[in-house]
């Protein structure tokens, strides 16, 4: 598959889902501490998100890094926009900016409910 085809898939996924997390492993079984940390933040906020396991897909594993010009995974996308990796998500969560971003993006935040799927 060419870069283009991978990019098209990424664009479709981040276009069709409000919140997408590219990660190592799945939301239920993260296979990396950084991915697990972001899942934990999203679950804490009760935000519904689509987790995409890049370990299951070598083309996507490289493609997502090229797509965002970002060298690492996890990568969080909200409404088609790249928000950041683990450090940025954590920093934004602690400062309240992440909740604000979800609110202004029309993404439902439901603290206390576990919305992983």
């Amino acid at each position: 598959m060419s870069d283009n085809a991978v990019f098209e898939r990424i664009k479709r996924d981040i276009g069709e889902n409000n919140v997408v997390l590219y990660m190592k492993g799945t939301p239920v079984f993260p296979q990396c501490g950084f991915s697990a940390a972001v899942v934990q933040v999203l679950n804490h906020l009760g935000v519904r998100f689509k987790g995409i396991d890049i370990l299951a897909d070598p083309e996507l594993r490289q493609g997502i890094k090229t797509f965002s010009n970002w060298p690492t995974v996890p990568q969080l996308y909200v409404k088609g926009q790249f928000v950041g990796g683990c450090d940025i998500v954590r920093e934004m969560f602690e400062s309240g900016e992440l909740t604000e971003l979800f609110n202004t993006s029309g993404v439902e935040v439901n603290i206390g409910a576990d919305a992983a799927r």
Partner: protein, 78 residues
């Protein structure tokens, strides 16, 4: 393959000369670093853009040779 902190700092400063770089070895294995980078060059840039500048300075080592670099960027306080 662990990377030495002087080299990490040198690469960042080569690209962002005014940067103040503070590195902390998170686990003590020389392979998991936490970096705080402060530079006026970050002014007006989003966090993603600021981090991208640092990653660019590390020229592809991030995610490879440099396994883990927790990154925090900010602009100098006046």
């Amino acid at each position: 393959m662990p990377m030495n902190p002087a080299e990490i700092e040198r690469l960042i400063k080569a690209k962002i000369p005014d940067a103040s770089v503070n590195l902390e070895d998170l686990v003590g294995d020389g392979d998991h670093w936490s970096a705080t980078v402060i530079s006026a060059a970050f002014k007006g840039k989003s966090r993603v853009q600021q981090h991208q500048m640092v990653y660019e300075a590390l020229r592809g080592r991030m995610g490879g040779e440099l396994h883990a670099l927790a990154l925090q960027t900010s602009t100098p306080k006046d």
